[in-house]
Symmetry: C2
Subunit: 173 residues, 2 copies
DNA sequence: TATTTTTGCAAGTGATCACTCACTATTAAA
DNA sequence: TTTAATAGTGAGTGATCACTTGCAAAAATA
């Protein structure tokens, strides 16, 4: 991975997350990265290839965030870590996180199965805690996660800290 | 409103909701509607004007769906009707509903204040029911609504009916 | 050191973009 | 029935789109 190659990926991530994939031209990416437009196609074949490179690189980073949740034996910790996740996305991951949501609507990128290991872990956690319908409790959290994430990315939440504490209290974690 | 004008609006709504606003060209809209491309600009000035016409027309229809919730005196009914809303979007409103979500991410259309009357009504409902922190309970529902809507539009919900019943039971409605 | 491979750029390519313009057909008012 | 306004068309416009090509510089390999 050359220095210019990384600059292209970073610029593209920034612009795709801000303006959207379709609305961002390859010439804009090149200008932002300070390289010739042709170089994008030399390295990534086409615009779609550039996007895939960004996604591949980002998903590798995201996967690590799931490890502590999926390996925990304590059911309350599983639920707490899951609910806290959207509140603890770092500045550096924020752009990639936002891009994921944009792509879900802009292109028809639909892979809910990405969430399934988490949903399974949540179900087991609720089972351990004696909830009546653990599958639906787990699905409830997954569905709710989408709402929290949107509210945080769009900065529509009145008080993040208060809301987080409210959730923890609601599930007695 | 001429017949061709309506055809343009309907075609644009369909295509914008399916392919996205930026990715849908005015020539595509014209072809789908069976009119000349120039007519779009005669009637709506530009592409943005066409979008605004769609939004204006749709929002008028949507507002009516909120009336029964906002006028109800029964707190349990307020909450139940709110939670049931995403499950009862009719076939004919589905496209417009989907478009709303697409635009929220594609363009930076961000007007959370549209939800505020509903959030206020929910807060009062939770207050009447004696909940400890009614403001956060109301915000919780609003945030959750985003998640349910996404799951339904993207068809990611295992069993809509079961999930709806689960929600009603959860709030003892 | 000589040769090959990779990296990079500038200047293109045709296609498509949103939009305009000159003009005709239809409708409505005078 | 004449006049004026509106509805509608089709062939354009320059700008921008994703992408290609030819060639030079740099780096890696021999």
């Amino acid at each position: 991975m050359t220095e210019k190659q990384e600059k292209i990926i970073n610029s593209a991530l920034t612009l795709f997350a801000k303006e959207g994939y379709t609305a961002t031209s390859t010439s804009k990416v090149a200008k932002h990265a300070g390289v010739s437009e042709g170089l994008i196609f030399r390295h990534f074949k086409n615009k779609e290839g550039l996007l895939q490179a960004i996604l591949q690189q980002g998903e590798a980073r995201i996967k690590e965030l799931f490890i502590p949740i999926l390996t925990s034996e304590d059911p309350k910790e599983v639920i707490r870590l899951t609910l806290e996740m959207p509140f603890s996305v770092t500045e550096s991951e924020f752009e990639f996180w936002k891009l994921q949501f944009k792509l879900k609507w802009e292109l028809e990128y639909n892979n809910p199965e990405k969430m399934q290991p988490l949903q399974q872990a949540l179900m087991i956690a609720f089972q351990k805690l004696g909830y009546e319908i653990p599958e639906l409790e787990a699905e409830f959290i997954i569905v709710f996660l989408e709402g929290i994430s949107t509210a945080i990315i769009k900065d529509n939440m009145s008080d993040k800290l208060k809301f987080k504490e409210f959730l923890i209290q609601k599930y007695k974690l």
